[in-house]
Amino acid sequence: MSMLVLEDVHTHYGKIEALHGVSVEVNKGEIVSLIGANGAGKTTLLMTVCGMPQATSGRIILEGRDITREPTAQIMRSGLAIVPEGRRIFSGLTVEENLHMGGFFTSKSEIRKSQAHVYELFPRLKERENQRAGTMSGGEQQMLAIGRALMSSPHMIILDEPSLGLAPLIIKQIFEIIGHLRDEGITVFLVEQNAHQALNLADRGYVLETGKIRLHDTGKNLLANPDVQNAYLGG
């Protein structure tokens, strides 16, 4: 059963084409990792799924529904959540307010339930409930970004470089949480520079190179692939 399918997706920034016909498939309950060099178009691919920017051609299908032409607001209210690149938490709001923004379109009782769940995953956030989000450490902010995305009880979560700029210990913790999310039945689509850990955790992986999918295979096979080792795993 596929959760998300991209068929020959092209995306443009003005006249420049950033994605040259990308096809990706993410099955329900999987962790799929996407790796690639800086500027390969990973963020562009994720954001295209969210409809900002919209694909110029091709099809994007989420849980059997064609969302290629749907506005962002509609896509993001249908069981999909994203932890955007650079976290993008609301730094002026408190931790709790940030979480509540994540559950904007759900009922009060749902918010209470998901909030308790998020605090279970990240006890640190509970301690900092009333702190302004902008004053937290990078790791805490990343936890908040993930927590905020979970507030809408998504079926699928997209993460754009969640380990960016974090210490190894925190990265390990974040990867553990991501594995835990899969155990809860949430489908995960993960973009990472940290190719080793990302492929290790992933069921399957894709390699993106200058707007095109170069390789795709299981996580284990990609890790063993000499090309991947040379280019992304430091030989």
């Binding site: 900002m52 959540a81 994203i82 609301f90």
Partner: protein, 423 residues
């Protein structure tokens, strides 16, 4: 470094000379049909040179001056304190606001008619600033044409009263709704714009409305304006010496008291007060509702807000519409207070003043906005004895304010929690 400083100071001094010499040093005089150019008094030239020297000296020691100014916040007893807890703060603000309102209720009976009149104007500015605060302070949309919606409210009442003889109480909701509708219509094309671009386009819209009012002479009377706008009535009682409208009674006759012009002024003041309180309460309500949080989220990070499923269009439009609605509210009161309006009341300077109030008040805080509205309206009045220099003093006060407290009088959230306390 030092040479650089001197060069910069010299440059500034020369600019001062270049700017002030033609403006102050030369004067045009009409002699019959001819206009002749003549110089000014020697004292003026001396003053210009002195000013240039002053600029030069200031620029050379600027860093020292500014450093000293930067230390000034230490004089402010509130600056170094820990930020108050959010809940406590909100409570304190509510108490203060209630206190102010109670005081404002009794105040007009103690002071002169002129003061009450000025206070009514302050209340109108408070309504305007509270409305603009939604757009600029909460939603973060820099709107430089806000006065347009004020004009729509005022002209709606003026025109309806002229053509249909509508009363103030009927016109109030109609004016506000029409202004809100205008806000929505004008909001649509500018939604995609951000920051400076939005500011420029809204500035343009403000001017378009004013120019339209100025030139559509058949409907609006153009620059001549519209007069004879009725005052509000109290349950059908008029406040004039004689009853103007069939079926109404007059206030002083009903209560068997002597006629006094003050009744009317105080009544208008009280209406403005009630409406300002209603405005504050409604907007407060909005701020606590999800839509209020959506405004803040969109201001903080548009991409993040959209990625949570918020519709940029809906959120921005709601802020624009609600802001415009209350400008229309204020406009209706203004028209009623003045009895006469013309496009001259709705120039860009008005937008700028309202924006100044919002910025001075601290972008988002209601109490701050109210204090700033009082300061900005009263200060030029107090400075009246300085006649032509009062705007200069006003400007200087604003600059000082921005240096001293760049986040405004009462910013919504104190910006930082001091870290050294933990160590």
């Amino acid at each position: 470094m030092a040479a650089n400083n001197i060069r910069h100071a010299l440059f500034c001094a020369i600019v001062t000379l270049i700017i002030s010499f033609p403006i102050l040093g030369l004067s045009l005089e009409a002699k019959g049909v001819n206009i002749t150019l003549s110089g000014a008094k020697t004292s003026t030239y001396v003053a210009i040179v002195l000013a240039a020297v002053a600029v030069f000296v200031f620029q050379i020691f600027r860093d020292t001056f500014m450093g000293a100014l930067g230390k000034l916040p230490n004089l402010n007893p509130l600056a170094g304190r820990e930020p108050m807890e959010q809940n406590k703060r909100v409570k304190l603000e509510s108490w203060l606001l209630t206190g102010i309102v109670v005081f404002a209720l009794f105040w007009p009976f103690l002071v002169s008619r002129g003061s009450v009149d000025l206070a009514t104007l302050v209340l109108i500015y408070i309504m305007l600033a509270l409305g603009l605060n939604v757009v600029v302070g909460l939603a973060g949309l820099l709107d430089l044409g806000y006065v347009a919606f004020y004009a729509v409210g005022a002209y709606t009442f003026a025109l309806l009263s002229q053509y249909t003889g509508i009363s103030f109480w009927m016109a109030l909701p109609i004016g506000a709704l029409l202004a809100g509708l205008t806000g929505m219509i004008l909001g649509f094309p500018v939604l995609r714009l951000r920051g400076d671009y939005l500011a420029i386009v809204t500035l343009g819209f403000g001017e378009i409305i004013r120019i339209l009012l100025n030139n559509w002479t058949t409907l609006t009377g153009g620059p001549n304006g519209i007069g004879g706008i009725p005052e509000p009535t109290l349950f059908g009682m008029e406040f004039g010496r004689r009853v103007k409208e069939e079926g109404n009674t007059s206030f002083h006759e009903t209560f068997g008291i002597a006629y006094s012009g003050e009744h009317k002024v105080i009544f208008l003041y009280l209406i403005a007060l009630v409406l300002a309180v209603i405005t504050a309460l409604i907007i407060r309500r909005f701020m606590r509702m999800p839509v209020g949080r959506a405004w803040e989220a969109l201001r903080e990070d548009e991409i993040a807000a959209r990625s949570l499923g918020l519709s940029r269009t809906a959120v921005k439009l709601s802020a624009f519409t609600i802001g415009a609605f209350f400008a229309g509210f204020a406009g209706t009161v203004f028209a009623s207070k003045q009895g006469f309006i013309s496009p001259e009341s709705f120039v860009f300077l008005e937008s700028a003043i309202i924006l100044a109030i919002v910025v001075l008040g601290g972008m988002g805080s209601q109490l701050g906005v109210i204090l700033a509205a009082i300061a900005v309206t009263i200060l030029p009045e107090l400075a009246r004895e300085f006649s032509e220099y009062r705007m200069l003093i006003f400007g200087a006060a604003m600059v000082l304010m921005m240096v001293w407290r760049p986040q405004g009088l009462l910013p919504v959230r104190r910006v930082q929690i001091t870290l050294n306390k933990q160590g």
